[in-house]
Symmetry: C2
Subunit: 341 residues, 2 copies
Amino acid sequence: MLVLPRPYLLFVGDTTEPGFAKTALGLRDWAGECCVGELAIIPEAVATGLPRLTVPEAVANGARSLIIGVANRGGMIAPEWVSTLVDALEHGLDLVSGLHKKLSDIPELVEAADRCGRHLIDIRTPPPSIPVGTGRKRAGKRLLTVGTDCALGKKYTALALTQQFTARGIAADFRATGQTGIMIAGSGIAIDATICDFTAGAAEMLSPDAAPDHWDVIEGQGSLFHPSYAGVSLALLHGSQPDCFVVCHQPGREWMLGSTGFTVPDVADVMSLTIALGRRTNPAIRCAGVSFNTAHLSDAEAEELMASEDRRLAVPIADPIRGGPRLDRLVESCLTMEYAA
Amino acid sequence: MLVLPRPYLLFVGDTTEPGFAKTALGLRDWAGECCVGELAIIPEAVATGLPRLTVPEAVANGARSLIIGVANRGGMIAPEWVSTLVDALEHGLDLVSGLHKKLSDIPELVEAADRCGRHLIDIRTPPPSIPVGTGRKRAGKRLLTVGTDCALGKKYTALALTQQFTARGIAADFRATGQTGIMIAGSGIAIDATICDFTAGAAEMLSPDAAPDHWDVIEGQGSLFHPSYAGVSLALLHGSQPDCFVVCHQPGREWMLGSTGFTVPDVADVMSLTIALGRRTNPAIRCAGVSFNTAHLSDAEAEELMASEDRRLAVPIADPIRGGPRLDRLVESCLTMEYAA
């Protein structure tokens, strides 16, 4: 499994649009204690709120790697960034990137890394020698976040639940399967970049045998209903062999991301299909509840919707960002092996 | 999509065990008209029954590529083979391999191919730039073979059905998804070697838009019930968007291949799960019938079993190797858009 050198220096480059700095902002929110500061190459670059440092200042503050915290259209490494990245290597930092274009495809970076004895870490490159999955039941408890679609809160929900478990004194690890999640956790496997014959095996590697009362809280990917990615979701479900899962949903989203003509499924259908398929590697799988992304609703609208939906679905529903007693009930439902609605 | 230069010279090397010459024997059976002969490096090597030729003789007979038709333990290219393979390159043949170890990882072969302007074709290397799947409905008709497990006749069934369709004057193409299938067809995509985010997209590439009455008969992979490979099977199902499918099964097999403790599912469960999941990209999907691999049974035992099972399952059942009226009924069921048992 990939392990990243910490703490980080967050590279915000020349990006002025917060939407392109999602990775840096996510790291600030979820792994702020692992970030010594940010590095910009123009004064008007997006500010994360962390100290703005030069490379030598970051090194003096203990930074061990520079993380590319921004994307541009196409997921490229901009030519304007390269001299700064070389400077970071020369000051002893490793480089970490989750972009599609690999650091190791840029000759100047390869040359500088070789010369300085540093590492270029492309998070989307899966580890070598992932074994084929076996389906063998592992010790410890596992929770998987699943979705009605892509990009609606599976990572956020897994992070929030891990935080809640830990706050209650439960031993728990967030297990990252996507690039931002891996940067936050400092380790993980980019599941969607694995060779499909080994995807379930990669999911098995990600949450190895653990103490019987330890929880792995696994970041889900895609959706069993997504025509492009359902195979990824199924391999992750089988390999994770979760004891329970939480369905993540964005109320009001009508169409699946990137797939014209495919409607977002009902949460109830995701619950029953996840149980039907997940049983293959964990016959005791159960749905612990539902996580709603209600950022676009008022407090009253969100509460009304969640109250009506938890009567219909008969499981706890919460928006982890709103927290409160709903989130407590969802957490209790996850931790209780037998939950009655 | 990968396209192989034909006709082939089949390399049987120094293999004396027929089990290790499965690829060469499969090519003889299913693409014999595309094979000019076989090449051995020891006299006692497995004989395919095709003419045993030297490299110059094969070239004189029109051969355009040499296919590695044998495997040894570990899927390696044996050092003893290399001088013969270099000789083939020097005589103008391309090399084709489906082994795990790549031709392009052997420096002597890379050097000779460069020097002679020849190609090293590793079938397990998927084509570059496979797009993400879209789920868009394509023109033409599609059949997918699916399985209760791995390695029980999905390729064989797809080949036999393609042959039967063609014999009835129906325009049909066998679409290969595994290494032996690709060698037989001369083209295809090694689905299980694709990056999982693009597996459904690869399946979409494999059977592009076609004439409304044209059939693509697609070689299935794995099983929706296999704890290691179900994700591959689901991506292939979604991307193939089959109008009908045939369930392949080996009666009497009790345990899933390579996965201790997982029983082979009932054919009826594979039928209903394939319909439930396949509906996502083709709401009209239906089960056309079942293909039994009854090589281990007597004629009477096979007939008794198939008669009892087609009453229970209410679809035609045939063993394509046995042929006969049962195979006719299975073929008719595939070609009839509305089939009533």
